[in-house]
Amino acid sequence: MMHLSQEDLVGLAYGEGAPAADHHLSGCAECARSVAEMKSDLAELKPLDAPIRDENYGERVWEAIEGTLPRYQAPRWKWLGSRLVWGLGYAAVCAVLVAGAFYAGRVWEHGRKPPVTASTSTPQPRQPIVVVVLSDHLDRSERLLVELKHVDAHNSEMFPPLRDEARTLLAANRVCRKDAEQAGDPALEGALDHLDHLLGQLANQPGGLNTAAIAHLQDEMNADGLLFEVRVLRSRVHDQKSGRKPTNGGTA
C-alpha cells in the first residue's frame, strides 16, 4: 500500500489535503497517525507575538512617509474634456456664423434679383442691365479662377478667401445662368453650368478646403478649360457692352 508523502501530510495538517489524500487517510491508520503527529508538532510552533502598536501607530507611519510622497495630478482626461467642450463650443459658434453669413448672402443676392428679373417684363432696358451684371460676374469669376490656378495648394491660409469669394459668386452665377437659360443662350448657359459646378465645390467642400481638394479643383479647372471659356465669354460680353458686334455667334 502506497502511503501519503510528507508533503501530503503537511497539506492535510493544514487542512489543504487533496481529495485523494483525504480518501486514503480514512482507510490508513498509519498515515492518520502521521498526520496527527504532524499536527501535534505544528501546534508546538507558536506564532510570534508582535510587539503591540498603539492606536496612533498609523498616524506616526503617515507622518514619516508623507513628505516622500508626490501628489497625483488630477486625471488628464478631465482637462482634455474641458478643452474638448470649449473646442466644440467654439466650432459650433463658427458654424452658426458661417451659416448665417451664407444665408445672409443668399438673401442679399435674392434681394438684388428683382432689378434683373424685373427687366423680363420690360425687354428694352433689360439687356444693358443683364449685360452689366454678367460682365461684372465674369470679371470676378475670371479673377477667382486665376487665383485658384496659381494658389499654393500647401498654403492653407489662402483657402478661406477663395472659399468666401466662391460663395458670393455662386449665388450670382445661378441668377446669370437662369437668365441665360431664359434668353436661350446655350453657350453661355453651358459655361455658367461648368462655373457653377466648380464654385459649388469651392464654396461647400465637405470637410473644408484642404491641399488635396484644391489640387483636385485645379486639375478639374484645367481639364475643362474653364478659365479659357470664361475669358472668351467675358470678351464677348465686353464687346456687347461697348456696342461692338460679337466675333462669334450667340449672345446674352
Binding site: Q6, E7, V10, G11, Y14, E16, M38, D41, L42, E44, L45, K46, P47, L48, A50, P51, R53, Y57, G58, E59, V61, W62, A64, I65, E66, T68, L69, P70, R71, Y72, Q73, A74, P75
Partner: protein, 193 residues
C-alpha cells in the same frame, strides 16, 4: 468589511484625484496588520517598522495600477510581504562566520549552522519559544515567509503564492521544506521533554 473596502476605494479615488492626504486614512487603517506580518517575517521590530513604511510608499507609487475590483487590504498586505522578504533577503546573518549546513539547490540559498544553545541548557518553559526562534533562522527567507504566512497568518497556498510572486505549487513546496526543517530542529526538544 464591505464598508471598509468602500472607504478604501473612496480614499484611493481621492488620492488619484490629487488629494494626497486621503492616503493617510489607508495608512492608519492598515498599518498594524502590516506591522504584525512584517515583524513575523523579519523577526525584528525596527525592520518591521521600516517594512511598513516601505510598503505604504511602494503602494502609493503603484496606486494607479490598483484594480478597483481588488481589496486594498489584501493588495497592500502582499506588498508588505514582498518588502519584508526583500529586507530579510538583504540582511547578513549576525555578522558571525557561519558554516554551511546544507544547500538548497531549488532556492540556490546557502543554509547556515544554528549557533543557539542546545536544548539541554534551556528551561522547558522558554525552550520551545527560544528554539523555535533559533530554528526559524535556519530557514531561507522564502521558506520563512511562506511558513509565517501559512502557519501564523493562516493564509492559503494560493494566497502565499500570490504574496511571494510564485506558483501555488512552489509556495506549497516552500511551506513543506520549512516544516521539515523546523521539525528536525525541534525533534531533540520533544525527546527531552
Amino acid at each position: 468589511m464591505v464598508q471598509m473596502r468602500k472607504d478604501d476605494h473612496e480614499a484611493i479615488r481621492a488620492v488619484l484625484a490629487g488629494d494626497k492626504e486621503a492616503y493617510s486614512a489607508l495608512v492608519v487603517r492598515h498599518s498594524r496588520t502590516l506591522f504584525r506580518v512584517a515583524f513575523r517575517i523579519t523577526g525584528n521590530e525596527a525592520d518591521a517598522d521600516e517594512v511598513v513604511q516601505d510598503a505604504f510608499v511602494r503602494g502609493y507609487r503603484k496606486l494607479e495600477g490598483f484594480e478597483s475590483r481588488s481589496d486594498f487590504g489584501t493588495w497592500i498586505y502582499r506588498i508588505a510581504v514582498r518588502c519584508a522578504l526583500d529586507k530579510v533577503s538583504g540582511r547578513r546573518p549576525d555578522g558571525v562566520s557561519r558554516v554551511a549546513e546544507e544547500n538548497d539547490p531549488e532556492q540556490n540559498e546557502m543554509q547556515v549552522a544554528d549557533m543557539a544553545a542546545g536544548p539541554d541548557r534551556l528551561l522547558l518553559s522558554g525552550e520551545i519559544a527560544a528554539l523555535q526562534q533559533s530554528a526559524m533562522h535556519c530557514l531561507t527567507p522564502t521558506e520563512r515567509a511562506a511558513f509565517v504566512l501559512r502557519h501564523m497568518e493562516d493564509r492559503s497556498t494560493e494566497e502565499i503564492g500570490a504574496a511571494l510572486g510564485m506558483q501555488p505549487n512552489a509556495a506549497k513546496q516552500a511551506v513543506f521544506r520549512a516544516v521539515q526543517k523546523l521539525r528536525r530542529r525541534l525533534a531533540p526538544l520533544r525527546v527531552n521533554a
